[in-house]
Amino acid sequence: MILPVWNESQKRSALILFGIASAGAGISIAIGEIGARFSKIWACLSSFALKNSIPTALLTPLSMIIQCSILIGFISVSVMFMVWWERKVSAHMQNRLGPMFTGGWHGWAQTIADAIKLLLKEDIIPAEANPWVHRLAPIVAFVPAFLCYAALPFGEGLISADLDIGILYIFAISGLSVLGIVMAGWGSGNKYSLLGGLRAAAQSVSYEIPRVLSVVPILMMVGSLKLTSIANVQTGFWQIAGIPVLPKWFIFYPIVGQIAFLIFLISSVAETNRTPFDIAEAESELVAGFHTEYSGMKFSFFFLAEYAYVFLSSGLTTVLFLGGGSGPILPSWSWFLLKSFAVVFLFLWFRWTFPRLRVDRLMEFTWKFLLPWSFVNILITGFILLF
């Protein structure tokens, strides 16, 4: 790669970015493992409750409420960051600058301003719409996205429900939000929305299958559906003569890992309705697809759901293929966030590089290419495990 000539302001920006990165690394080392700290705080709280004879029946709901609030806070902050980041990345990929004004430094407060604007906007229900379906659709689209985060391990001990069926749970629940999109498409009383809903239904049902099947090789190797045990298997390094060569991440398993990773990544992009596969909202053909008739808070719920799914998919990719929170020096949660946001960057990169697929090509691609290859992958894994 040819390094471009940077002028003074760009050098300054690069220095600022480097400063932010090193400050973040320093802070995360200083904080250490959040999971251990949380459990210490929780132990303090429960001993306090025991001393003051507060019933333990209150404690469990309290811990649930605390976990939910942490997750909601994390989702909204990360979504805000990702929207800003997407705008900046897209701008720079097109040699633009993107938002530069709001908040001073490179428009960092742009999404906050946008969120306030969306909150203040008028809420419109079209005359042709079915009001209840129209009202419920954004909720049905968003709530599953939030539920999925419960089983996502953010690092060591940072998981609110370490389910034994973790990965299956996430796939099952995330499949529910298509229903929200279909409801939005049907309930808006608009032909573009209806077309968007139809496309979303067909697409997500088709891409769900290779997405689940691409994970099967990992499950076969690990022998568990539990996300934490999948992440734990991938710690450590492969060594040649005592020298660590490659981390034991699943993506570095020969052949199987790479095929599974590619299939999972492609179908994740498709499941989140992002650009090479965004036929459900296709701005240039369907206005905005299923959310044409939505405004204000309801629209922002769809937006929130989309970006929450982007981060969820990236987090899943990290846990399944990139070793979860394993890594040197930095604590596990910051490794997890780093890797996840690297995958989010990959998502953005795809979005701003590839043109949209045609509907029939899209279906052909999943049924005639991804699905057979994921079966082949399972077969190869079986052979590897046999011999």
Partner: protein
């Protein structure tokens, strides 16, 4: 079979090539100009808003004849002593709602060395009402005092 894998290889290569294009332009400096803070230099012969010099104008009407949209109007000054027209302008008005910035008036203007009606490099000019587009320069008849314009906007 061989062709199948060849197609996969070709498509994969093309996708990666496309991603490298965006990756390269991601690191290139942006071409955008942050407008209110930094401005581009306009070209030498840029036709911005018209400006008018009340003192040098001879009220010859050539610009009015040259103007294709008839946006210029003027009235020559009259000497109060002799009641005769003099080669000065009493008022001069340009309707910027009609003006199409064609430079024909500037080319027609006979004053030397600087044309009395000429284009500036000014392009940041917004108006809220149609009335404001009528810009008028007035010349006081006993022209001893400094000249003032009633309706003129700083250009």
């Amino acid at each position: 079979m061989f062709n199948y894998f060849k197609t996969i290889y070709k498509v994969g290569k093309a996708l990666i090539q496309g991603m490298m294009v965006t990756w390269k332009s991601f690191w290139q400096p942006a071409v955008t100009v942050q407008f209110p803070d930094e401005k581009l230099n306009t070209p030498e012969r840029f036709r911005g808003a018209l400006t008018f010099d009340k003192e040098t104008c001879t009220a010859c009407n050539l610009c009015i004849k040259a103007c294709p949209t008839a946006c210029i109007s003027l009235e020559p000054a009259v000497d109060p002593a002799t009641k005769k027209r003099i080669a000065k302008v009493s008022w001069y008005q340009i309707d910027f709602g009609k003006c199409n910035y064609c430079r024909l008036c500037e080319e027609a203007c006979p004053t030397k060395p600087i044309k009395s009606v000429r284009h500036t490099h000014q392009y940041e000019w917004g108006m809220l009402e149609r009335k404001e587009m009528l810009v008028k320069w007035e010349r006081m008849i006993p022209s001893t005092e400094p000249l003032t314009s009633t309706n003129m906007k700083p250009i």
